[in-house]
Symmetry: C2
Subunit: 406 residues, 2 copies
């Protein structure tokens, strides 16, 4: 059902990163559900996490461990989110970290745990612990695809992205995987993204770049307006490319990295939308001509969240009045509806607050027919703009979410 989602790319080795995958029996029999990333000594790790106050136990531990010392292992399970589990959730998450730390001989603070799946049920720590030896035995630099599969929940396909770029005679690689199809309206991060590169970069600079690029990628997608309790996005640089450590965003190499990094992050973010629960459309919502950026952002999100707009998109129905109705209630101060314009896939639909004089129903039908829809709303107030990516709302969405636990 995924919309225009390419095959998982061939991801080359990123020196300093090995990945192991195992079946712990949390999800279903014969499904990969535990993934371990091993990072070389000296690797720098940056992370952004959900802003949901009910953030999951592993998120709290990650935030604590990330600041303490060099992170060496990411321990990821699917099938259970370990969220809404109170104090005992923290204890069970730490127990899995302890088990991995003991087997590989590092401090527990070097382990970053991640969980995704059903909220509110106790984490089956024993199953995870029992699967750790198999995952460690499986460690290899070539396991990106398996890891992409291993972190899936309601995703129908694994999601990966890779870019290489040359700078000053060296080739750098950036690769990542992501997962997520529902409970997707990331707020400072998504559930889940892991991006690695062989570049050498100061960890504070990496954190700044990650936060900034997240706001142009994962923080601009929405499937169903619900922010997950477990959102986490992690960037790792191993330094194995051999460059002098990048320490300033002004450096040309930092700029080259950001350009490629942004492409990887956007591709991973779009992949989540393309594989959104029940998605039949990939929709770009662009709001231009706003007086300030926050007006553009909130209007774009309100359009992307409206069940009436999303069901009309599902039906390929040019019921564009619903889009204007959302613009009108989005809370834009001093909006003059007589200045609003609406284009869909290149067709001018509305202007001056009403239907365009040249509009014909056939135009609307043509505009709404493709799988890829580009909506542009111009508020006619200023120069600020923003873009959000989303999906439609289908029968399949209801089926998936009514039957998720059964």
């Amino acid at each position: 059902m995924a919309v225009g989602l390419d095959d998982f790319p061939l991801i080359p080795e990123i020196k300093g990163i090995r990945i192991g995958v195992a079946e712990a029996g949390i999800k279903r029999p014969n499904k990969k559900d535990v993934v371990i990333f091993e990072l070389c000594e000296g690797a720098s790790v940056a992370g952004v996490f959900t802003q949901n106050a009910f953030c999951a136990a592993p998120v709290r531990i990650c935030q604590r461990h990330l600041g303490l010392e060099g992170s060496r292992y990411l321990l990821i399970n699917t099938g259970n989110a370990n969220a809404g589990t109170g104090k005992s959730g923290l204890a069970t998450a730490l127990k899995t970290c302890d088990a991995l730390a003991a087997q590989v001989g590092v401090n527990v603070e070097s382990i970053l745990p991640f969980s995704t799946g059903v909220i509110g049920e106790p984490l089956p720590a024993d199953k995870i612990i029992a699967a750790i030896p198999a995952a460690l035995a499986n460690l290899s630099p070539d396991n990106w695809h398996s890891a992409g599969v291993g972190i899936m929940t309601t995703d129908t396909l694994p999601k990966g992205s890779v870019r290489t770029f040359d700078f000053d005679g060296r080739t750098y690689t950036i690769a990542g995987i992501s997962k997520g199809a529902g409970m997707i309206r990331p707020n400072m991060a998504t559930m889940l993204g892991y991006i690695g590169s062989d570049i050498a970069m100061d960890v504070n600079l990496l954190q700044i770049i990650l936060k900034s690029v997240v706001n142009k990628s994962f923080n601009r997608i929405t499937v169903d307006s619900d922010t997950s309790t477990n959102d986490s996005c992690i960037a790792v640089v191993t330094g194995m490319a051999g460059n002098t450590k990048v320490t300033s965003i002004e450096e040309p190499l930092a700029q080259a990295f950001i350009a490629a990094f942004t492409e990887v992050m956007q591709e991973l973010a779009h992949a989540i939308v393309r594989d959104g629960e029940g998605a039949t459309k990939f929709v770009t919502v662009e709001v231009a001509g706003a007086a300030k950026q926050s007006d553009a952002t909130k209007t774009a999100f309100e359009i992307a969240h409206s069940p009436l707009v999303k069901t009309a998109l599902f039906a390929s129905d040019p019921n564009w009045g619903r889009i204007l109705a959302v613009v009108g209630r989005a809370g834009v101060e001093n909006l003059d509806v007589d200045c609003v314009q609406l284009h869909i896939n290149g067709f001018e639909i509305a202007r001056d607050g009403g239907r365009s004089p040249d509009y014909r129903e056939e135009h609307g039908k043509q505009a709404m027919a493709p799988e890829e829809i580009h909506i542009i709303v111009d508020l006619g107030m200023g120069d600020a703009s923003d873009v959000v990516w989303t999906t439609d709302f289908s029968h399949e969405y209801v089926t998936i979410n009514a039957e998720y636990r059964t």
Copy 2:
């Protein structure tokens, strides 16, 4: 499909109000789609209207006419909302008012127009004008049920409510009709409500009472989070009961009126939810223990709008973690998740930020099985609370909204 919606009540004559209904052929053949209310001279009319900036042409005219002089006629059509129609929409709405004014011999400012239906298409003024004589010929004090049918769009049943109360030897009647099933998240009004009473009351006091009671009824329901462009709620008092005009909210008669009026308004508001598009559940979302009322209100609405909560309600699936996840992202400042409690239909589900120690899956299943669901979230922060009423999210919802125009 409506959930626990009673039959339309027997509404007695309210002296000073006559209603006429006709078929203009806007909706479908043989469907009532034009309704005229005739109000006696001296009737007082209060109104509240949508806050959507894209408010419809008839809403703008209503707001202008309501302030000018005694309103005498309400002219309502369904099948076309006359919204997103720019300046020509205003002209066509005025044309229908002019036609009615000429036939009954009043100023055009005495006419209040209302439209509901598809957004963005030109109002078929000629069809409405052609139907006016039939509606006028049909005027009768006994047409409340026909009017309830005549204002329906995707509603499956007409919605009415009536209360009588005695005070100081006199009997007073309050009756009303409402419509709406989708694009329901009223903001200061709903689409559409008409309430009449024979009490004599100062129009400014009536306006104050209407605004206040709307905030406990229509402004606390949501089906799909979308605020309509045409929301209007009108209260009429004819003074035919013969009492000395009520002028202060302190008067015991004002208090007796407010009590009965609130019951009518809440019943009409609940009827819209019970008949919400695709509804299989009637859900009361109560948020208590908030530090301030706005926290309670926004948390309740966020729960009521979450597609993940709504699809779990549809499936009668006790996936209560989704409710906690919404509470966590609702933006409540200083929320301590370890103090949050959750009850559903009397079962304690969560406490101290996690599953209740006594919780069993059977409790969750029992709690979620009935058609009527009462969710109580206690934030454990203070004494403020609020209540919002909503529906679940079903396949039928997608079907209705994907096929609305076809």
